[in-house]
Structure formats: structure tokens, C-alpha cells
């Protein structure tokens, strides 16, 4: 078999390459990046791999502590207290502590205070340096007091799971841009304290938080993105939002009538997903939601209909209640480009939707995402809509697109 020299050399270099110790040939900073995904204890254990790895872990910029790595509280405490003796902690950028074991697991129950003290001494040292990202998770919804984390000056991103938010203790997170709170108990006082303690906060995510009666108000001039997922409360708590700089709003599983929006002049994206329960006194309440969305370009209102099997009753979604009550008082949606609605039986609901279309002069796309919807009344809809529309009815979900005035109408 004849081989041209060029081919041969390519093949040879290829073989050489694959026989090299390639993983070990990665530069240190790349190896360190890989180690960032390991738990702290495993990362340290890489020191036995070879001479090169012996000291590599000492330069690791990320620390992920997970109590599940340790069988007993004692070994966790030993590890966490020895750690700073073996390396400098001044250049740690990311710190994470998952302390699910603190909830009283076997072998841990009577050592919790010591564990917390050991964690405290390490965390306070770490946050004094240039820490950027801090994540602490705890398992119980009772919350645990890590109040000292609320005063770290350098942190830019914080993720706290089931950690108490203090009422009165000072909060001074002067560089914090992104905050993710989950499972926290929030009331009016603590939220006010939190927002005033974060002067440059841009992203706020509240996940499965418990909101305390009677109301929670978020007033901020820096927030750009706000998400509230899973809205847990026993009583009908009201949430008032007044965030003029907000660009994107994402609410899931909220109860219609519990949320009011004001001063949303920068809003572009809004996605509001309702749970099927509606506040008892919604029809009489003065909380306004739809008006607050009037500046947005992309609006998505979802909340599926529920079939009550015991009564054989199909309940319309809260989206209908919302549109019926609030749409007549709404100003024009001057920037609205795209609207997505679910849970509506469009055939019986043509006039409110066509009103919505009328007051949205720049609307390009109107989408109904509802599997069970029938579009038998499209002709009626053509007549009542703006009149200059092309209807493209494809497979579900049905998209109805509004194009230029001179196009032909097709169904």
C-alpha cells in the first residue's frame, strides 16, 4: 500500500497525540476550573494523584462544601477548621455550603451548634476577602440564622436556601447584584430591610418563599429582573410591586388579586402564570395588575383551566377573570408586540380579545396556547379584529399573526 508522505505524517502525529498524557497536559488554570465542579473534600483529595496535583488544590478559587460528604459532624468540623491552616483563603471567589445534615441527622444532632460555629468562623474569614459568589443552603423551612452573611461588602451574587432574612439587624450588601432566595420567610419588614440594604441589586429571584400576612411591598429603583416562583402563603397576602427600572417580570403560580403592579415604565418582558385559585374578594379589590403591564412589549398570561372531576365542571382560567375585570380600564398597550394567552375559550370570548387588539396598535403576534381550544369562530373574529389582519391557523397551539394592511386574508 502506497502512502503519500503527507498523509503518513498526519497519521503519525495523530497517534502521538493520543498516546500523550493528555489530561495531565492541560494547563493548571483549566484543571482548576474542572476542580471547581468537585466538592471541597474531593478536590483536596486530588493531592495524591501525582506531584503536580499535590499542591494544585491550594489554588482552587471555588469551595463547595457539602455536609453529605461527611458521615459524622466531627469529621466535618475537623475538615472545615483545618482547611484554612493548609491554604490561603484570600483568593477564593466562590463559596458554597450545603448543610442539609444540620437538620438533625443521625450522628449530627447534638453537634449542630459546633458545626454552625465552625462554618461561621470559616465563612466570616472568606467573606472578608474578595468573595464574589456566596451560596448557603439549609434543609428546614424554619430557617437558620446566618445573619453575618448579610454584611459582606464584596459579594456580587448570593444564593440562600432556607436562611433567615433579618428584620432589624443591619443588611449591608453594597455590591450585591443578584440575589436568589428560596424557602425564606418574608414579611413586610424583612423585605424592606433587605431591599434598602442592597443599593445596586439588579436581579431578584424569590423561589417558594413564604409571604407573611398582611402584605409585602417591593419598592426599588435598581431592580431589572424580578422572578417570584411558587407563591406560598396561608392567608391572602398581598404583594405590591413598584419598580420603575424593571425590565423583566416573571411570576409563577400567583393568585389573581394578590399582586398589584405600579410604576412599571421600563417593563419589556412580562410572564405571569396564575394558579387556578382567585382571591375571594378579587372582584371588589382595587389591586391592579394589567395596568402595570401597559408598557411591556412581550406579555404572556397563562393559567390553565381546571376540570373539577367531582362536579364535572370546567372552570375558566383566572386569565379570563383578569381580562374581564381590568381590561376596560386599561390605557393603550403602545409597545405591545407579542401576546400569549392560555386557558381561554376564544369562541365565547371574542369581544374582550378584540378590545385588547384594538388598544395595542403595534401587536404583531397573538398566540393562544390552549390544547382544548376550538377555532370555529374565526370568521367572527376576523370581523371584530382590526380588519387588516392575516390569520395563519396552523396546528395547536394556534398562532394568529397580524401583518401589514395590504396583505390578503387567509384562513
Amino acid at each position: 500500500m502506497v502512502q503519500r508522505p503527507g498523509q503518513m505524517s498526519t497519521k503519525e502525529t495523530w497517534v502521538e497525540l493520543s498516546e500523550l498524557d493528555r489530561f495531565n497536559s492541560l494547563p493548571d488554570e483549566l484543571l482548576l476550573h474542572i476542580m471547581c465542579f468537585l466538592m471541597a473534600r474531593q478536590a483536596v483529595q486530588t493531592c495524591i494523584l501525582s506531584k503536580r496535583w499535590k499542591n494544585l488544590w491550594r489554588y482552587l478559587p471555588c469551595l463547595n462544601f457539602d455536609t453529605q460528604e461527611f458521615k459524622y459532624a466531627k469529621s466535618f468540623i475537623r475538615f472545615i477548621t483545618s482547611f484554612p491552616n493548609f491554604r490561603s483563603i484570600s483568593h477564593i471567589v466562590t463559596f458554597r455550603l450545603d448543610s442539609y445534615q444540620f437538620d438533625g441527622c443521625w450522628g449530627w444532632a447534638n453537634m449542630i451548634d459546633d458545626c454552625l460555629e465552625a462554618a461561621r468562623s470559616l465563612i466570616t474569614r472568606v467573606i472578608e476577602s474578595r468573595l464574589r459568589v456566596l451560596s448557603i443552603a439549609y434543609s428546614s423551612c424554619n430557617g437558620i440564622d446566618f445573619h453575618y452573611v448579610y454584611t459582606c461588602a464584596f459579594v456580587e451574587e448570593m444564593n440562600l436556601h432556607c436562611i433567615l432574612v433579618p428584620h432589624e439587624k443591619p443588611i449591608a450588601l453594597v455590591n450585591l447584584k443578584r440575589l436568589n432566595l428560596s424557602g425564606a420567610n418574608l414579611d413586610g419588614k424583612s423585605v424592606k430591610n433587605l431591599i434598602s440594604g442592597c443599593p445596586v441589586l439588579e436581579d431578584l429571584v424569590l423561589e417558594k418563599c413564604f409571604f407573611q400576612f398582611p402584605n409585602v411591598t417591593i419598592i426599588s429603583h435598581t431592580l431589572k429582573n424580578l422572578s417570584i416562583h411558587g407563591f406560598e402563603s396561608r392567608n391572602e397576602v398581598e404583594i405590591h410591586l413598584s419598580v420603575p427600572s424593571l425590565v423583566s417580570l416573571h411570576l409563577t403560580r400567583v393568585r389573581l388579586g394578590c399582586i398589584s403592579l405600579k410604576n412599571m415604565s421600563s417593563l419589556v418582558h412580562a410572564h405571569i402564570d396564575f394558579c387556578f385559585e382567585v382571591c375571594a374578594n378579587y372582584q371588589n379589590s382595587t389591586n391592579e395588575l394589567l395596568k402595570g403591564l401597559s408598557h411591556a412589549a412581550y406579555i404572556e398570561l397563562t393559567g390553565s383551566r381546571i376540570l373539577k372531576s367531582d362536579l364535572w365542571l370546567i372552570k375558566e382560567s383566572p386569565v379570563k377573570d383578569l381580562l374581564v375585570k381590568e381590561l376596560p380600564n386599561c390605557p393603550a398597550f403602545a409597545n405591545l408586540k407579542s401576546l400569549y394567552l392560555t386557558g381561554l375559550n376564544v369562541c365565547n370570548f371574542i369581544s374582550p380579545i378584540s378590545h385588547f387588539v384594538h388598544i395595542s396598535p403595534n401587536l404583531e403576534t397573538l398566540t393562544f396556547g390552549n390544547e382544548e381550544m376550538m377555532i370555529s369562530g374565526t370568521d367572527a373574529f376576523t370581523a371584530s379584529a382590526t380588519g387588516n389582519a392575516v390569520f395563519l391557523v396552523g396546528s395547536m397551539p394556534v398562532t394568529i399573526q397580524f401583518a401589514q394592511a395590504d396583505s390578503n386574508a387567509n384562513v
Binding site: 471547581c36 468537585l38 474531593q42 501525582s50 506531584k51 475538615f79 404572556e300 408586540k337
Partner: protein
């Protein structure tokens, strides 16, 4: 359209918008904007040809998934699909991952870099030193004495676990 040339002289033609996902290439294109067409060839010297194929597949998949989609519930479904696809994409041997990491680092593609690094760390997790050495071909050059005494005693705090 720009042309990428790998170290083994294979050519890859890619749409500019697709290759823009590499911040390095984007900067190079930006620097050369307005010049002749011949300049639109970029040499990617430190990568062998198997990797550009993978990188381009990755680019194309992500190109189909623009970061900003008008409606959150639609983007959610797409993100789920993308996640599944990525899991498959990274399900490969450590040498390929290793090359992908190098490529993603030099071409500056953050999501590919993080994805590959995470996958490697998953492979290394919960394995003994011997296993890791075997998988990643790290040669253990410690002497017998070091291995038996020095290293364990220095790092006892890491290993001592099973006492109550």
C-alpha cells in the same frame, strides 16, 4: 461565510453568525471587517480536525436556540430539549472532553467550556486515586515512601472520617 483551518489543514466553512459564538473569532472578525475576502480565513492551529467538527455541531445547535425568546413558557421547553441534547453531546471519552476544553478555552466559548469541565469533574467524582490515574493517564510518580507515609500524614485531616 468564514473559513476555519485546523492544525491538520482541514477547512471548515461556517456562517459568520454561527462562528460568532466564539468570542475569540468574533474579535478577529471585528478587527478584519471591511478587508478583502481572503482575510476571512482564520487559522485555528491548536486544534485537530476531530474537534472543530464537534465544536461546529455545538455551535449550530446553540444557534438554533437564541438566548432571548419572546415567551418564557416556549423557551422553557426549548431549554429542556437543549439540556437533553447537551447531555448526549458531552457523553464521550475523557480525551475528547479534554480537547474540547482546550478548544473552548482558546476560542473563548464559555458555555462549552463549563459544560465540558463539569462533565470531566463528574467522571472524576467518587473514584479512587488509581481509577482516576487510569482514566486520565496521570502517572503516579510518588515514591513508595511518599505514598505510604508522607502524603497521608500530611493530609490526615482530609481522610480521617470514620470515627464517631
Amino acid at each position: 461565510m468564514i473559513t476555519l483551518i485546523s492544525s491538520d489543514k482541514r477547512k471548515f466553512h461556517v456562517l459568520e453568525e454561527v462562528a460568532n459564538q466564539s468570542l475569540t473569532i468574533r474579535d478577529v472578525i471585528e478587527d478584519r471587517r471591511g478587508r478583502r475576502r481572503a482575510d476571512r480565513i482564520i487559522l485555528v492551529t491548536n486544534i485537530n480536525s476531530k474537534i472543530p467538527e464537534k465544536v461546529i455541531v455545538y455551535w449550530l445547535r446553540h444557534f438554533l436556540m437564541p438566548e432571548e425568546i419572546a415567551h418564557a413558557s416556549m423557551s422553557h421547553k426549548k431549554a429542556e430539549k437543549l439540556k437533553k441534547w447537551e447531555a448526549k453531546f458531552f457523553d464521550t471519552d475523557i480525551d475528547t472532553l479534554n480537547d474540547l476544553i482546550l478548544a473552548a478555552d482558546s476560542l473563548d466559548i464559555p458555555s462549552l467550556f463549563d459544560g465540558a469541565c463539569e462533565k470531566v469533574s463528574d467522571i472524576l467524582k467518587n473514584r479512587s486515586a488509581e481509577e482516576v490515574g487510569e482514566i486520565s493517564k496521570i502517572e503516579n510518580e510518588f515514591t513508595h515512601e511518599e505514598e505510604e507515609e508522607e502524603i497521608p500524614s500530611e493530609n490526615a485531616w482530609v481522610w480521617r472520617n470514620e470515627f464517631a
